[in-house]
């Protein structure tokens, strides 16, 4: 085990985590096959250069009317593990509406659909790794994992980085949400520091006066040379 691996211990969730019930019949039971460094090949097609529409990073302007809810700016930097910015990489996000309902045929929560909110957006980081979205604050919602289970308010993020090993799907949470304590997805990450790094930070300097509150969320992708195991399979 490298120092890096030791450092990372507990910073990623396990595949099998029974408190999150869906892992029980979906997590592989056999050990993962470890790919040695000599088989590393980082060259891989990277999805991210498809043209991005002008409004793709503004989830409040995708319909004729405005969505209900609290407007928020979500912005931050995408870095690698050496602290270097990751420029020109695709950032996608998706979320439920302010009432806690996804615009999705399988979301059966009784909260109302907002006809002016679809909940999906995307952008590309700039030369310094910065990204920015305008959206509305998502609501909490119940789910069927256990009795009286509620997901804390969260926004899903998907990033590619510059190789297949840097692919990341994660969730952003909001500061001081009492539901995080009871959420098995959030709690699946053993290391407290790693959990807290998924919590966005309220940032007054990011707010737009008379318009929207600001939350900062920095994202760290795996580095290019940080572990002997990374690379393309």
């Amino acid at each position: 085990m490298t120092d890096r691996r030791a450092l990372e211990a507990g910073s990623q969730p396990p595949l099998l985590y029974p408190p999150y019930k869906s892992t029980v019949r979906r997590a592989p039971a056999q050990p993962l096959v470890q790919v040695p460094g000599r088989l590393v090949d980082l060259a891989a097609p990277v999805y991210g250069y498809l043209p991005i529409g002008e409004l793709d990073n503004d989830l409040t302007r995708q319909h004729a009317g405005e969505p209900l809810g609290e407007r928020i700016i979500v912005a931050g930097r995408v870095l690698d593990e050496d602290g270097r910015p990751v420029p020109h990489t695709l950032v996608e996000l998706w979320q439920c509406n302010a009432a806690g309902r996804y615009r999705h045929r399988r979301d059966l929560h009784s909260a109302p659909i907002d006809p002016n909110f679809s909940g999906g957006g995307r952008t590309v980081t700039d030369a310094r790794g910065n990204y920015r979205f305008l959206t509305i604050k998502p609501g909490a919602y119940p789910w069927s994992n256990h009795d009286n289970a509620w997901r804390p308010a969260h926004i899903h993020f998907s990033l590619f980085g510059h190789s297949i090993a840097t692919r990341l799907v994660t969730q952003m949470y909001f500061p001081n949400d009492p539901l995080c304590e009871y959420d098995p997805m959030y709690q699946s990450i053993a290391d407290e520091g790693a959990r807290l790094r998924l919590v966005s930070r309220f940032d007054l300097s990011l707010t737009q006066p008379d318009w929207a509150l600001g939350y900062r969320f920095d994202i760290v992708l795996r580095g290019r040379h940080s572990t002997p195991f990374e690379g393309r399979v």
Partner: protein
């Protein structure tokens, strides 16, 4: 954290959840990976995902990455440039029966690290509700003589290598691959 390492640690992964269709899989155009003008042998890749009970997974997000017909990673244009007709990347959600179908061209065999030839393959990234981290695997072509010497297949325990094979359908242009998350014939997944 007790270890004062200079570097920072990668953000934790979280599940894609069941509702990603409103975001990354909003459109199905990424199932058509190749156009009529793409050099190579047209093929259809059908992927099915089954859970530990053999039940079709109807909410998986399947990403595939492949070389072009010559075995090269397709050139990646700079940001802002028009996408090529073939990018080597595909992404689809599984349907109610756990299947998704990519229209593409057969990948060529790549030269791998150290000049060792690899067998033709697709690399797969798999996301779904119940996966707190995504899974990596590979799809090879059953009957390909190059399987014998593929370096990555060579590190997979022999009894599990067959779990990485796609099999031809009746029309000769369709290849089918089943992902089994657990149990008999559990697919081999890789840790990068």
């Amino acid at each position: 954290m007790s270890n004062p390492a200079p570097a920072i640690v990668a953000s934790a992964s979280q599940t894609v959840g069941p509702f990603f269709h409103v975001g990354p899989a909003r459109s199905d155009h990424l199932g058509r990976m190749a156009g009529a003008d793409t050099p190579g042998e047209a093929m259809r890749l059908r992927v099915r995902v089954l859970d530990g009970d053999g039940v079709p997974v109807n909410d998986a997000l399947v990403e595939v990455w492949q070389a072009d017909a010559a075995g090269a990673c397709p050139p990646q244009p700079a940001a802002g440039q028009s996408p090529p007709s073939f990018s080597g990347f595909g992404r689809l959600a599984t349907n109610d029966d756990g299947w998704c179908t990519f229209e593409t061209i057969r990948p060529g065999a790549e030269s791998g690290a150290g000049g060792v030839d690899q067998a033709a393959h697709f690399t797969v990234c798999l996301f779904m509700r119940g996966l707190l981290r995504h899974l990596y695997t590979r799809i090879y072509f059953a009957g390909d003589p190059a399987l014998e010497t593929d370096p990555l297949l060579g590190i997979v325990p022999e009894a599990r290598r067959r779990t990485l094979l796609a099999h031809p359908g009746a029309d000769g242009a369709t290849w089918e691959f089943t992902v089994r998350l657990q149990g008999d014939g559990e697919t081999a997944f890789f840790d990068l």
